[in-house]
């Protein structure tokens, strides 16, 4: 072992490599400060291979250099937390020795240039994050954002992304349980593709990605390494432009069949106890997986890239280190176990190849054909990236929009027509066109599938169930990131609680524009502050997630979109409560208080094309009380249905509850009277206002009294609103002597056909 740092970090250029010039440094997205830090760390000019390594690990995607100080403020602890942020996925404790591993991640930029593969590999990556923890994936969810469907390219992206998500998850055999799809101008040119995976494990089987044991061997398991995806992490860390199209070859190509084999092999390796650590070779491939595992274990690592099985001849160490070829894992194991590991991999028709070992000198060292092409102090490589806390300033434009109100000249709308038009808005309409392309019942454990408030699965052999959701109303954040951040967590928690489950914890995917712009960083900081406050109030710690900055195209930044993935626990799976009315005669209640907040509402946005006004202030105590009430009511089996009141307000919530689930045999009607509920609020605010902490619930008549008493104990205002009726009786809402009646079958048709109708604008593509 060399006794000086200079000797330990001696490295030479790989033959034929370009010299490192200021231009080459710029091409690698490293600024002057960062480059200076590299040269002083090494005491010399880096080789091109080293520059590539730094470029990847110091990209925003890997280093969180603009977000770390903000993320530190998230609550991450609680009795249910088994593993908080910093691992491949967060892990929460469940009953009977079970645990849930879950994480959400973005694949926005690849999907913007190559929607099918971009989305497919996004799913692949998040599955690997979960099964490397030793968990078997049991559900995926996704949150997608596109520009309006009137624009052909947006339809192309939408179609491609949905197909990519579906083909990958379907083939691996993981049910898609839900998610959300939204459309707004700001996403034209920069769609968002966030995928979440939820896995189950025995808490005892948990494995962490921490390299340990000097002399232990590093093995690559799975697919061969090709030239695809080189610099994907850096690509994810810049704004999209006309030049982005040229990045298309950098988008990785997915192979779900190999993923399935990798899943089975990894789980067998983990439960067999043969391995020390395992990590997905995701963003920045071999570089980040090896460097991060070594840094966690406080050890060095030496890799010989000439041993890595490649798809193509003549790949350089630079390319091998930075390739993001999919379906690869890096495994650390004791040398004596290598034979047995290879045998397990072979059974699953995969190869496992030894490519290096753990060292005691703390250096990240790469050799190729005997030449040392990189030698970097490992911990500093991972941890010494400069951290920025950029200037934050709210944009005047956003403030002005928040302070604006609907122009007085706007013509009043007939409430009857307004509801029909809202149900026809793709943001609110049925997403059946999307989720019918996803297998939602594989694994035979789906208790509540897509199309409701949250998905619910059972666990074979256990009594409890798991509820999962992924939510964000970005329009609220665009107007007020702090309140919007709180609202995103509150909506996720309401969705979970509506099924009867108790919210347990979250993962977040923070999609924002360029953080170097003060108005974007302000949104980011405030949104995170809101998320943190809500998580404290709900006792739902943050267990990890993903930051996606630079979501900007030449037309501007996306809405601030921090999607919140939440899991919840149903003590008894048969306590699950559906979203939709069940039986004529059941009593309907509106839970919560309506104040008529139209700021940022779908009503103004969809019907007046006006995104403005101040969104409702989130009352965290009222939200918590509602959650506790819903969970207690489900436990006492008092609820027939519960549906969260969010986009489109009370009228949309009532309509959706009546329309029924996506495959309900028939819609139902309802006779609702709102006299005595928010009498001071004008009609538009009453029907379409988006105050939080509300839900539309129904119960059997004989249980109404108990439900009312329970609500009193929980401090939740309950308005007896009427009763469920057969569809023929219509859906009617009465107030102050006026009654508006809709035909549920017509509403259902509008709701169902809104997206297919727009997609029919194209001839079906193959």
């Amino acid at each position: 072992m060399p006794d000086t740092i200079e000797a330990a970090t001696a490295a030479q250029s790989f033959p034929g490599e370009r010299p490192v010039t200021p231009e080459v440094v710029r091409e690698h997205n490293l600024n002057e400060l960062e480059y200076e830090r590299i040269t002083s760390m090494l005491g010399r000019v880096p080789t091109l291979t080293e520059l590539g390594v730094f470029s990847a690990l110091w990209s925003e995607h890997c280093s969180y250099k603009h977000s770390k100080p903000v993320l530190k403020r998230f609550p991450t602890e609680g009795p249910q937390v088994v593993q908080g942020p910093g691992e491949n996925a967060g892990v929460l404790r469940l009953p009977d020795g079970w645990a849930v591993a879950f994480k959400v991640e973005s694949h926005n930029h690849p999907s913007a240039v190559e929607p099918y593969q971009g989305a497919a590999t996004g799913v692949g990556g998040i599955l690997r994050d979960v099964f490397t923890m030793g968990a078997r994936p049991v559900a995926v969810l996704n949150s997608l954002r596109f520009g309006p469907l009137e624009i052909p390219r947006n339809r192309y992206l939408f179609r491609g992304v949905v197909r990519g998500v579906g083909d990958y998850g379907n083939c691996v055999g993981i049910p898609t349980l839900g998610g959300e799809v939204g459309f707004a101008e700001g996403y034209t040119g920069n769609p968002l593709v966030n995928a979440m995976c939820v896995g189950l494990l025995r808490e005892d089987d948990l494995i962490r990605a921490k390299a340990e044991g000097v002399g232990n061997v590093l093995l690559v398991v799975g697919a061969r390494t090709g030239r695809d995806g080189i610099h994907g992490a850096s690509f994810a860390s810049e704004e999209l432009s006309e030049k982005s199209e040229a990045r298309r070859p950098q988008v990785q190509v997915g192979d779900p069949f190999t993923e399935k084999l990798l899943l089975e092999a990894s789980l067998e390796l983990i439960t067999s106890g043969m391995i020390v650590a395992i990590q997905d070779m995701g963003a920045a491939g071999l570089t980040s997986s090896s460097a991060e595992m070594a840094a966690r274990g406080g050890v060095g690592v030496e890799i010989d890239t000439s041993l890595v099985p490649t798809r193509e001849e003549g790949m350089t160490p630079y390319e091998i280190l930075l390739s993001e070829s999919q379906e690869r894992m890096l495994v650390v194991a004791e040398p004596a176990r290598v034979g047995a590991i290879k045998a397990i991999c072979e059974k699953w028709e995969l190869t496992a190849t030894s490519i290096g070992h753990i060292t005691d000198d703390g250096i990240f060292r790469v050799k190729h054909d005997g030449v040392t092409v990189a030698a970097i102090p490992g911990r500093r490589l991972v941890e010494d990236c400069p951290i920025y806390e950029p200037e934050a300033r709210e944009s005047d434009e956003v403030r002005a929009r928040r302070e604006a109100s609907l122009p007085a000249s706007a013509a009043p709308l007939d409430a009857r027509e307004a509801l029909e038009r809202l149900l026809d808005a793709p943001n609110i309409a049925s997403k059946r066109w999307v989720f019918e392309q996803y297998d939602s019942t594989v694994q035979a454990a789906t208790v509540l599938g897509p199309g409701g408030d949250a998905g619910v699965i059972m666990v074979p052999g256990a009594e409890f169930g798991l509820a999962v959701t992924l939510d964000c109303n970005a329009r609220l954040l665009a107007l007020d990131p702090f309140e919007g951040g709180k609202a995103a967590v509150a909506e996720a928690a309401r969705n979970i609680a509506c099924t009867g489950a108790r919210p347990l914890g979250i993962t977040d995917c923070l999609n924002f524009g360029n953080p170097e712009k003060p108005e974007v960083f302000f949104q980011f900081r405030e949104a995170c502050r809101g998320i943190a406050e809500a998580c404290v109030a709900f006792e739902t710690p943050v267990t990890g997630g993903n930051v996606s900055f630079y979501n900007e195209s030449p037309t501007g930044a996306v809405y601030p979109t921090p999607t919140i993935g939440m899991v919840g626990l149903l003590e008894q799976v048969d306590q699950r409560v559906p979203s939709h009315f069940v039986e004529p005669g059941d009593r309907i209640f509106v839970a919560g208080t309506t104040r008529g907040a139209l700021g940022g509402s779908a009503y103004w946005a969809e019907l007046y094309d006006f995104v403005g006004g101040a969104p409702a202030q989130v009352d965290l105590a009222a939200e918590r009380a509602l959650q506790d009430f819903l969970v207690a009511a489900a436990r006492e089996r008092l609820l027939r249905s519960a549906h969260d009141c969010s986009e489109g307000g009370l009228a949309v919530a009532l309509a959706e509850a009546a329309i029924g689930g996506p495959y309900a045999e028939r819609p139902l009607g309802a006779a609702v009277n709102l006299d005595g509920h928010a009498d001071a609020v004008a009609e538009a605010g009453l029907l379409f206002g988006e105050d939080g902490a509300r839900a539309v619930i129904s119960c059997r008549p004989v249980q109404a009294e108990r439900l009312v008493r329970l609500a009193e104990r929980c401090g939740v205002p309950l308005h007896p609103a009427g009763a469920v009726r057969p569809a023929e009786a219509g859906l009617s809402i009465a107030r102050g002597g006026d009654t508006i009646t809709w035909d549920p079958a017509t509403l259902r048709r509008i709701h169902d056909d809104a997206i297919p109708r727009r997609m029919r604008a194209d001839a079906e593509q193959t």
Binding site: C171, W348, E349, Y438, V442, Q443, A444, Y663
Partner: protein
């Protein structure tokens, strides 16, 4: 106790669900890996859904050449029972144990949703517990489920009553464009059955439907040494 082999290809993804459904009715169910040739004394073979070998070429096209499928063909020829579900249907057609083929859905997209089907043949090992004409609600989840065959084959299937399940004729009920709304077929002996819907996903009350359960209870009631009895046929 029935010995039930669940064939496991590398890309099978309904293998566990299928095994669980068989175990629930008291069968002695176990996996047989695609490279194995020994079915270990199976009375019944279940070929589960999934993507056998990735199925990038054509669903089931490579699986038919696997060692396990050679054993399955022999097992079927000797009168053993075989049920193919979804990908299992595709494989049985590719292996020519049943006629016809399954092509890309007519709408060209994967389709996952519940469908209504009618039971039309209760004389098979797997449907003896149903009533003829009974309607079931079962999930489908496939990209290649459009059943096609030449006119002669279709006429024979219809003439000999070999259609086991048929999508109910209603607006939007046929999810894939199958000829004659065919959702499942059998051989004339009734020991080989293949269906696109997934009965194993509708065999537990917690999942909201038990309409698929009788595929497995019928199987469990079958005596391999006696002809199929129509336990619930009310004709």
């Amino acid at each position: 106790m029935q010995r039930v082999a669940v064939i496991r290809f590398p890309g099978s993804n309904c293998d566990e669900d299928t095994l669980r459904a068989a175990t629930r009715v008291g069968a002695d169910a176990y996996y047989v890996w695609h490279r194995e040739t020994d079915l270990k004394g199976a009375d019944v073979v279940l070929i589960p859904g999934g993507f056998s070998y990735g199925d990038y070429l054509r669903a089931g096209a490579i699986a038919r050449f696997s060692p396990a499928m050679t054993a399955v063909a022999r097992h079927a020829a000797e009168g053993g029972a075989v049920l193919g579900i979804c990908n299992g249907f595709q494989i049985l057609c590719e292996a020519q144990l049943l006629p016809g083929a399954l092509l890309r859905n007519s709408r060209l997209t994967f389709v996952s949703r519940p469908v209504l089907v009618t039971v039309e043949n209760t004389g098979t090992v797997f449907t003896s517990g149903y009533r003829r004409g009974e309607q079931l609600r079962l999930p489908v989840a496939h990209g290649d489920g459009r059943y096609v065959a030449d006119a002669e084959t279709i006429a024979r299937l219809e003439g000999e009553g070999l259609v086991v399940l048929r999508y109910v004729r209603a607006e939007d009920a046929n999810p894939n464009g199958s000829m004659n709304d065919i959702a499942g077929i059998t051989n004339p002996e009734g020991n080989i059955v293949a269906i696109m819907p997934h009965p194993e996903r509708a065999a537990d009350p917690a999942l909201g439907s038990e309409d698929g359960a009788r595929f497995f209870t019928s199987m469990a009631a079958w005596n391999p040494r006696a002809p199929v009895t129509h336990t619930a046929d009310t004709r």
